[in-house]
C-alpha cells in the first residue's frame, strides 16, 4: 500500500478566480444546452453573445445560427425519434444517363460513422429544403456531383446526372430498392439535374437545376386542336 500525496490546497485568491471562471463557463454551457430546443428571444441573443466561446470549443451542438433553431436541427437530435419521418434514413441517389444509380450511403455498416455522416448530410439538405432555403441543398448537390464528375471517365462526365435526396419512410432496403418505383417507400426531398458546362473559357462549372414536383407545377390544360 502506498501513501497518497496531497497537493497544496488553493489559496483564497485562486479559489475566487477559479470559482468565477467556473460560474461563467457553466452559465454559458447551461444557456447553449438549454437553447437547443425552441429557444426564446433572450436565449437566442445570449447564444449569439456566447458563440465565439461556445462554438469554438464545440460546446453548442447546433451548427446553425440561433434564429434557425426551430425546429431542432439534425445535429441536436438527442430525442432519437419524434415519431415523424424526419428521423428516418436519408440517402443520396446519383443516376447517370445510362440509368446506373450510385447510392450514398451504400454498403456501409449501420453503426459506421460514414453512414451517419451521409445520413446527416441528407438531413441537413432536407432540413433546409423544408424551410424553402434551396441554396443549401443545391450547393450540397453541386459538391456531390463535382466529386462524381472528377472520378468518372471524360465521356461520362459530359453527360448530365440526376441527383436525388430521398428519405426512407417504409421498410425499403437502401441497397436494393428501385428508385423509379413510386411505391418503394421513399420520399423525394430534393431532386435536381446536374451537368458540367465547359462551354466558357474558364474551368468547367457544375450547373444545378432543381426539379419541381408535379404537385407544385401548373396543371396541364387541354388547349384543343392548335391547327
Amino acid at each position: 500500500m502506498t501513501a497518497s500525496r496531497q497537493t497544496t490546497p488553493p489559496g483564497e485568491s485562486v479559489k475566487t478566480f477559479v470559482s468565477l471562471s467556473l460560474f461563467i463557463h457553466l452559465f454559458c454551457v447551461a444557456v447553449v444546452l438549454g437553447s437547443s430546443f425552441s429557444p426564446s428571444l433572450l436565449q437566442q441573443r445570449l447564444v449569439s453573445l456566447f458563440s465565439p466561446y461556445t462554438k469554438t470549443l464545440h460546446l453548442d451542438p447546433n451548427y446553425v445560427p440561433p434564429n434557425r433553431r426551430l425546429p431542432a436541427t439534425p445535429s441536436s437530435a438527442f430525442h432519437l425519434t419524434t415519431g415523424e419521418e424526419n428521423t428516418r434514413l436519408h440517402q443520396w441517389l446519383l443516376t447517370t444517363a445510362d440509368g446506373t444509380t450510385y447510392r450514398f450511403p451504400g454498403q456501409h455498416w449501420r453503426g459506421s460513422f460514414l453512414r451517419q455522416r451521409l445520413d446527416m448530410l441528407g438531413q441537413v439538405a432536407a432540413f433546409h429544403a423544408r424551410l424553402d432555403i434551396d441554396e443549401v441543398p443545391a450547393e450540397i448537390v453541386r459538391s456531390l456531383a463535382r466529386n462524381f464528375f472528377t472520378r468518372v471517365e471524360q465521356d461520362a462526365a459530359n453527360q448530365p446526372i440526376y441527383v436525388r435526396c430521398v428519405q426512407h419512410v417504409g421498410e425499403s432496403d437502401p441497397l436494393t430498392f428501385d428508385p423509379s418505383d413510386n411505391d418503394a417507400g421513399v420520399n423525394i426531398l430534393y431532386e435536381a439535374d446536374v451537368w458540367l458546362d465547359a462551354s466558357n473559357n474558364g474551368p468547367p462549372t457544375v450547373n444545378v437545376l432543381k426539379r419541381t414536383p408535379i404537385s407544385q407545377s401548373a396543371p396541364p390544360v387541354d388547349v384543343g386542336n392548335l391547327r
Binding site: 496531497q6 454551457v29 464545440h58 451548427y63 425519434t81 448530410l121 441537413v124
Partner: protein, 301 residues
C-alpha cells in the same frame, strides 16, 4: 431594523453554508485514476472516429469533395458567401490530397499518443485541437457523438495541463475540478436529452420504443417480436425516459448512484441496438465512469 437583523441572522448562515458546500464540491482533493482511465478511453474513441474519415478522406475534404468549402460556407453563413466560414480548421487551407493525407496521419499519431498515455500534457491538448479542427471543417455532419467527445476532451485537456494523470498516488484539487466539470456537464446533457424527448409526443404516449424498433434502416437488431405487446412498448419508453430524467438528480446520492448507473448502462445498450448510434452509446457509457467512486471500483485503500 428588526427585519434587517432577522434577515441578517437568517442569510449569513445560509451564505456561509453555500460557500462551504461550493468549496467542498469543487476544491476537495481527489485522485487521478478516473481521469487517467477516461483520457485513454477518450483517446481510443477519438482515434477510431478520426480513422473513420480515412475511408473517404479526400472525397469529403478534397478540393472537389462532398463537403466543399462552398457548401460548408453556404450552410454556416445562412447563404451569405461574403461572410467568412466560422470556426478554424487547417483542413480549409489544404488544397492537395497529399497534404490532407499527411496532416490526417499526423492527427492519428497524436490521438494514438493520447490513447497510449504518452506525454499527456501535450498530447491531450493537441488531440483536442485536432478533433476541433475536424469538427469545424464540417459541423453539419456532426451529431451527438462529437458533442460529448469535445466536452470530455476539453476538461481532460485542461485537467492534464495542471496535473499529471499518470501519478496514481497523487491527490489534487485540479483533478477534482476537472472531474466535477465532466460530471456537471454530463448531467446537463442528460437534462438536454430528457427535455428533447419530452418535446416529442411519442415519448409521452409511450410509442417511441415502437417507432425505433420499426425503423428498419437504423436498427442493428430486429426486436419486432416485442412490438406485439403495446404495454411492453409503453413500459420500455416510460422507463427509458424516467431514467434520463432522474439521472441528473439521483446520481449525486451515493445510495441511488449504483442503481442509476445500472439503468443508464441498460438504456445505452438499448440505444445502440435500436438506433445504430453505437459510438455515441459507448462514449456515454464511458463518460458515466466519471461517477464511479474508488470504493465502488473495489479499491478501498
Amino acid at each position: 431594523m428588526n427585519i434587517a437583523v432577522a434577515y441578517s441572522k437568517f442569510s449569513q448562515p445560509l451564505i456561509g453554508a453555500v460557500g462551504m458546500g461550493w468549496n467542498r464540491f469543487w476544491f476537495q482533493q481527489r485522485g487521478n485514476w478516473q481521469l487517467a482511465l477516461l483520457t485513454r478511453l477518450v483517446g481510443v474513441f477519438a482515434l477510431v472516429w478520426l480513422a473513420s474519415f480515412s475511408f473517404e478522406l479526400t472525397e469529403m475534404f478534397g478540393a472537389s469533395g462532398w463537403l466543399s468549402r462552398e457548401s460548408v460556407q453556404q450552410v454556416l453563413t445562412d447563404g451569405d458567401l461574403t461572410q467568412p466560414v466560422p470556426g478554424f480548421s487547417h483542413l480549409f487551407l489544404l488544397e492537395s490530397n497529399f497534404s490532407i493525407w499527411i496532416t490526417h496521419i499526423v492527427g492519428m499519431i497524436i490521438l494514438l499518443l493520447v490513447a497510449w498515455g504518452v506525454a499527456p500534457r501535450i498530447s491531450t491538448t493537441a488531440g483536442f485541437i485536432i478533433v476541433l479542427c475536424y469538427v469545424h471543417r464540417a459541423p453539419m455532419v456532426t451529431n451527438q457523438f462529437e458533442a460529448i467527445l469535445c466536452m470530455l476532451f476539453l476538461y481532460l485537456s485542461v485537467g492534464s495541463l495542471c496535473v499529471d494523470f499518470r501519478d496514481r498516488n497523487a491527490l489534487s484539487w485540479t483533478s477534482n475540478v476537472a472531474t466535477r466539470l465532466i460530471q456537471v456537464h454530463l448531467c446537463g446533457f442528460y437534462v438536454l436529452i430528457a427535455t428533447s424527448k419530452l418535446g416529442s409526443p411519442v415519448w409521452w404516449t409511450g410509442e417511441a420504443a415502437w417507432y425505433l424498433i420499426t425503423d428498419v434502416q437504423h436498427r442493428l437488431v430486429d426486436l419486432a417480436v416485442l412490438t406485439s405487446s403495446p404495454f411492453l412498448m409503453n413500459g420500455i419508453t416510460h422507463l427509458w425516459l424516467l431514467t434520463e430524467l432522474l439521472f441528473p438528480v439521483l446520481i449525486w446520492n451515493r445510495h441511488t448512484r449504483p442503481l442509476m448507473l445500472l439503468l443508464v448502462t441498460i438504456s445505452w445498450i438499448w440505444t445502440a441496438f435500436l438506433t445504430g448510434l453505437v459510438a455515441y452509446s459507448l462514449l456515454m457509457f464511458a463518460a458515466n465512469l466519471v461517477f464511479v467512486t474508488r470504493d465502488a471500483a473495489g479499491d478501498k485503500k
